[in-house]
Amino acid sequence: MKHRDETDRKLRELFTAARSADRAEAPDFRAVLDGRPRGSRPQVRGRSIGVAALASIGSLAVAALAGWIYVQQTGPAPAAPTASRQGAPGESKPQTPDAPGLNVVRPAVTPPAPPVSRTVATMSSPVEPMATAAPVTQPERTGLAVRVSDQSGPLAGATVTLSDARRVPAVSLVTDVKGQATFTALAAEDDYAVEVSFPGFGTQRLDGIDLEAGENRLIVIKLAETYTERAVVTAQRAQTQLPRTSTATHEYIGDLAVSGEFYQKVLTLSPGVAADSSDATARGSSARDFRAIVDGVSNVDPLAGRFTAKVSANSIEEMEVISSGAGPEFGRAQGGFANIESGSPAEAEYDTESYDTIRENDFLSVLDNPLSTFSIDVDTASYANVRRFLTSRRRPPRNAVRIEELVNYFRYDYLPPAGDAPFSSSVEIADSPWNGDHRLVRIGLMGREIPRGQLGGSNLVFLIDVSGSMQPPNKLPLLKSAFALLVEQLGGSDQVAIVVYAGASGVVLPPTPGSAKAEILAALERLQAGGSTNGGSGLRLAYKLARENFVEGGINRVVLATDGDFNVGVTDRGTLLELIEQDARDGIFLTALGFGMGNYKDDTLELLADRGNGNYAYIDNLREARKVLVEEIGGTLVTIAKDVKIQVEFNPAEVGAYRLIGYENRMLRKEDFNDDRKDAGEIGAGHRVTALYEIVPPGMHSSATAVDPLKYQTPPVIADKAAGGEVLTLKIRYKEPDGRKSRLLEFPVIDPGLTLDQASADFKFAAAVAGFGMILRDSPHRGSLTLDEVRGLALAGAGPDTFGYRAELIELIGRAARLID
């Protein structure tokens, strides 16, 4: 009782004080009602406007003039009495205004004063206005983690939707391999609701979740299957049935003729088990009753009974097969049970995958090579490919690792372009994590977003490879699901046609409005794999359809889905590429999607997409399909600017040598920059492009090879402009999507001197990804960087990570660590 009175008394005291303080500062009734201009505040007794407040207004004005601030302001900077909280008074360094239109990340000590009542949102949090005029403690990090399992363990790939009390809008995440989805940076509120769903299971919903500030709640949800067959679990087995178990170890498998095949073949070693690449049966029972577990995770699609992942037989450490009489603890395994542990990768690779060799960019001396020119690249297939290798416990081949594609896989928080500009440009410079003497320059471009409603009519032709090699579940069946996702996004002003190629090629669905979803989906469903590929005629047919149904001012695109096995005659290839190029000039672009593994030909797809002025992506699961076709649909389909080239001139007074990380097969000659006949990459709507340079201060030892002094020329003289303190000048050339002449943007860049600590989370993460790539490639520039350090850096840069993509990378780093060290 006594405590209760104590609390009451204390509360009353505090509230009364608050009330008096408010009274002293309250605005006049008339003033509020009539809406007097913002910025004029009643003077509070005994307080004067701080020096810091004036400085903040000043820097805000300068920054606004320089175009740095892209967010809308609700009014001029406040002269609120408590503005001094925003930074110690008098500490604002005088700033050189940045080049108009360029965003430069500065040290946190001297930010422009945040505009009053600016609200900022990340996808996962209901918005709370960030109080600046009346400062308030930053609300503690409140989060909610949802762990989903079914009766056999964690359930990955489940959809978890969180909505707050208002129920609109909701945020959805997909559970990771541990079955967990984490929502961060939430507001402390009552009555959140969580809904969990997964195909084949009943949807579960949980209401009335109250979260307090600083609380991080974990909710565990178990989903129940909605099958008609039920596993009856009893405590004892029938006495007469003994399990038939056979165990095979790595050495044993290695000696067999099945070496180099997929593990399903190894299963056939066990008596009574018949298996092919997609499923297995034991003793004549149904494929759906055969349970295969790889490293503790179910490898069987619960609906179709097919295997979902291929594991090379060479990577099996130990395999146990129970072909009958498996006890109740093995779940739905009336038919048979295989438990596979994969281990260290085998030496030999039997795949027919091919990759171009990449010779990494080396350091170049600025005096000899002041200009660095390259085409921007938004393809991200390398990441998905690397992920595929690591997930199958194999180290990715060096040349499958393209660092710029790894870095560009992730969404960075660039400010969107202002006004009519097709894209925005940002620069951030901080220490290099793998060499403390060097700095890293991060250049980011971001294409204008186009809201779904404004996408205008689209004319899409799906060109689908239905040859025999497309049969496995992660090819044609996945493709069907992936395209179904895309079809869901379309509307009446869009039209879709489907062309297939295999043996003969043909139109499976004539151009149909996007609103006739049932028709389109039915046509997709009917597709069957079989026959050999005849890519050439398929492409011709697809482009013909696209031309015939061309939509002026809309999106015209051929979306090619294949495993890359094009089987086009050599002589035909040249004419084919010419055809694609010509159509690209007429506005029909190509998106190439790669499915499946084991037959994946990376360079073919990239070449096609390149010539077709489009992009390519590699889809290995439904989640990736959703990312490419749904989340990034704007970018995948709409080109905002084409032939985008970057040329950087480094200042020899500030930089001794530099190295462009990645982009090896995108380098251009310096003359190509101003040559409009030379093609380059595209930026799609909402797409971000990131490039990293490692730079070395002048005079410091670098690996740039020394060149003999010239005999017939005197060394170049450094111009006066070099003394200005600029580190580099960034130039960008681009063309409008249907333009012929390029436009130039030019930005001088000064290094504000951020340490790695002060750099943004995005910078840290991008650097971590680059470091990861360098280690995977065993790059000579990695120094003493370890995967542990990379992991730590990635964690530091993870940020809100709404969709869990960054968490996935961190997990991949862990897998790589087990493989490499």
């Binding site: 509230f15 206005p129 960030m130 983690a145 009552d190 109250d210 307090e212 977003e449 730590g792």
Partner: protein
């Protein structure tokens, strides 16, 4: 109630209404003024009609609360629709402010830090009861919840504050930041 009289009434409770608006808007002054203005205009031009069933004050508080919620929702919807991932700017550190002289303002600051650790509903309830001096029943009316629910939240809020007050009493430190996952790592070097 006719127009000029209503206006006079509103003016007489203006100070209290502003305090309430502040609470509904996360103590963002500009936002509170805009919300309050919107609520005044709604009332005076008849879009929001007082039915005379409660006191004008409790009824108007409800209008303010709903207006604040609406604005939040609209902002949120806009952010989602456009898909603009605007960078989150960190709120300023709660450092000790050398210019602050008023004891009241100090206490108010301390109170806000404590209230920040409660849910929105708890925060609003406590404000209505202790600051506006309403009964729990009246407060329930303002928030649009049942009396039982209000009582539960009220008790929970006080219990939470009790423990918070106890800890701050002995330590008197700024609230700790609590990250969802430990990310203390050392990198580089």
């Amino acid at each position: 109630m006719d127009h000029p009289q209503q206006r006079r009434e509103l003016e007489s409770i203006h100070g209290a209404c502003f305090g309430w608006a502040l609470t509904c808007c996360g103590w963002n002054r500009d936002e509170a003024e805009e919300v309050l203005q919107a609520a005044y205009l709604k009332t005076l031009d008849g879009r929001a009609r007082f039915d005379g069933l409660s006191s004008l004050r409790t009824w108007f508080f409800g209008v303010v609360r709903r207006t604040a919620a609406e604005r939040r929702r609209r902002r949120l919807a806009r952010a989602f629709a456009v898909g603009n991932w605007v960078r989150r700017r960190p709120a300023p550190e709660p450092a000790a402010d050398p210019e602050q002289v008023s004891r009241d303002a100090e206490d108010r600051e301390r109170l806000r830090q404590l209230l920040d650790r409660l849910t929105r509903r708890q925060r609003e309830l406590l404000h209505l009861v202790f600051y506006q001096e309403l009964t729990i029943e009246q407060a329930a009316g303002v928030l649009g919840i049942s009396l039982g629910t209000a009582r539960t939240h009220y008790e929970r809020a006080k219990a939470r504050l009790r423990s918070l007050l106890a800890s701050t009493e002995t330590h008197h430190e700024a609230p700790r930041r609590n990250r969802p996952e430990a990310s203390r790592t050392v990198y580089g070097g």
